[in-house]
Symmetry: C2
Subunit: 286 residues, 2 copies
């Protein structure tokens, strides 16, 4: 292994990191937030959908009386671009343990008019107030140790699809789901990886919204090579993640009619299932 010349001198902390700065929102007036979409979270020219969801999720966490997204759904309407944005929120209902809100992210067209990019509906709660019971039957994904998995830096040539976001992520893919990068897709709709932020910031509920949409699409392992735009993404955050890298498993069961679903499970270092997500995406068949 070469010297870790690019390793940060000190690990970034939650609240003081690239991810926190790039998802920051500033309250312009009650319920309305200014944001700046960073070019650092793009894949080719597209802003990552999970990063965008985190920006909206952060605004809703400020607007609602509860801090954590328990279930959040985004519909992606038009393509976001790096640059200024405004998030408009609405408090739909507030309850004792859950509150529900809605948010829209807008950018501006050439005439300065607002264009809606994403609409979100979510219910928030307080993860720290939940009971500690776990009766799950789910098991963490079988994935080799992190040192036997592969990231963009490990490839002899640039991995297809690598982009600005690759520098912000610690993403190490299970070699069993890397056939696509070698021109030999497995035909199975599976993708597994170790995941973290490159600056060492630990995971929190907001960064889980990024994590579920950060792996290469399962469609690559199904032999498709084109863009797989997300129509809708729903994330359930089930537990505050423990410090350390996450394991993410993504599965597609049904590629049909030009659409596919991607189901993600995110596991923390304590073997807790901390998030589940499902997205509906369009598949461009060759």
């Amino acid at each position: 292994m070469p010297e870790a010349a690019s390793a940060p001198a000190a690990r970034a902390r939650i609240g003081d990191s690239e991810f926190d700065r790039d998802t920051a929102v500033t309250r312009r007036e009650p319920g309305v937030y200014d944001a700046g979409l960073s070019a650092g979270w793009t894949i080719i020219n597209a802003v990552n959908g999970g990063y965008l969801l985190a920006v909206l999720g952060r605004a809703l966490g400020d607007a609602l009386p509860h801090p954590d997204p328990f279930t959040i759904t985004a519909h992606y309407l038009t393509a976001s671009r790096p640059g200024p944005a405004v998030v408009r929120t609405e408090v739909v209902r507030t309850g004792r343990t859950l509150s529900t809100g809605q948010a829209s992210l807008f950018q501006y067209d050439d005439e300065g008019r607002e264009v809606e990019r994403i609409r979100v509906l979510a219910s928030y709660g307080d993860l720290d107030a939940l009971p500690d019971d776990v009766r799950t039957s789910a098991k963490p994904p079988a994935i080799p140790p992190i040192e036997r998995c592969f990231g963009p830096d490990d490839a002899p040539a640039p991995v297809p699809g690598s982009s600005a976001i690759a520098d912000r992520l610690m993403l190490k893919l299970d070699p069993d789901t890397l056939g696509w990068a070698l021109g030999q897709p497995s035909g199975k709709g599976e993708m597994r990886a170790w995941f973290g932020l490159a600056d060492g910031r630990d995971a929190d509920p907001l960064s889980l919204l990024l994590a579920v949409d950060a792996l290469p699409p399962t469609a690559f392992e199904l032999g498709l090579s084109g863009w797989v735009p997300t129509v809708e993404l729903t994330v359930h955050v089930r537990c505050r993640p423990a410090p350390g890298p996450l394991r993410i498993s993504i599965t597609t069961r049904n590629l049909a009619g030009g659409f596919l679903e991607e189901d993600a499970e995110v596991w923390d270092s304590d073997d807790r299932l901390v998030a589940q997500s499902r997205q509906l995406a369009r598949a461009r068949l060759g």
Copy 2:
């Protein structure tokens, strides 16, 4: 088998059935629809969440330029009751192949003020315009033939939880997921059934919204006996269902922190996976 004395003389048709009449909406003004929530789709005193989603889905199908819900998410805010309701819709975006809309269902408090019951965000398309490709790896659930499954009529005593809705459904549960009804829950978060409408009406995209939320909760097989209220329900309709009964498989992997997810898959008589859903529900632990 006793004589099928209660079998309807003729099978009801899509567009002319109990389900169609009870989900009917009347346009009051552009985007605003009057509805009447029927007492026929209640479980104990609660109006079934899938039936409610179908009412909202029908209003959106009228308000949007595309007919079929491709992905629809509902957040359940307050308890709906049989009686009058109004659905207010908003067209968020219209595109060539997909359009996105939002809808809220309101009822009235004692002073006649509107109280929001449910908020929905959805993207609609045209199922008949999709290509015919199927590259799915999903397999239909292993479930015994319908004549070896059990419905409320087959129980020696009334099945716990049976209610008005039972008369409207043809619901035959896999005996392997019926332990809860005999006081012997399996401990596995699984529920499987044959599903149809009692009057013989075939399935369509709107009745799939009902189907995904019509089985007893998986929580019963996990040994919980209380009410499992839905916080959020997302349904992907992937294919127009063929005539004939549906097979539905529901799975819970993660019961933790007082919440659980329920994932449903709905298969038609042509072995096509016609809908996938996930809901986040509260579990009342004993």
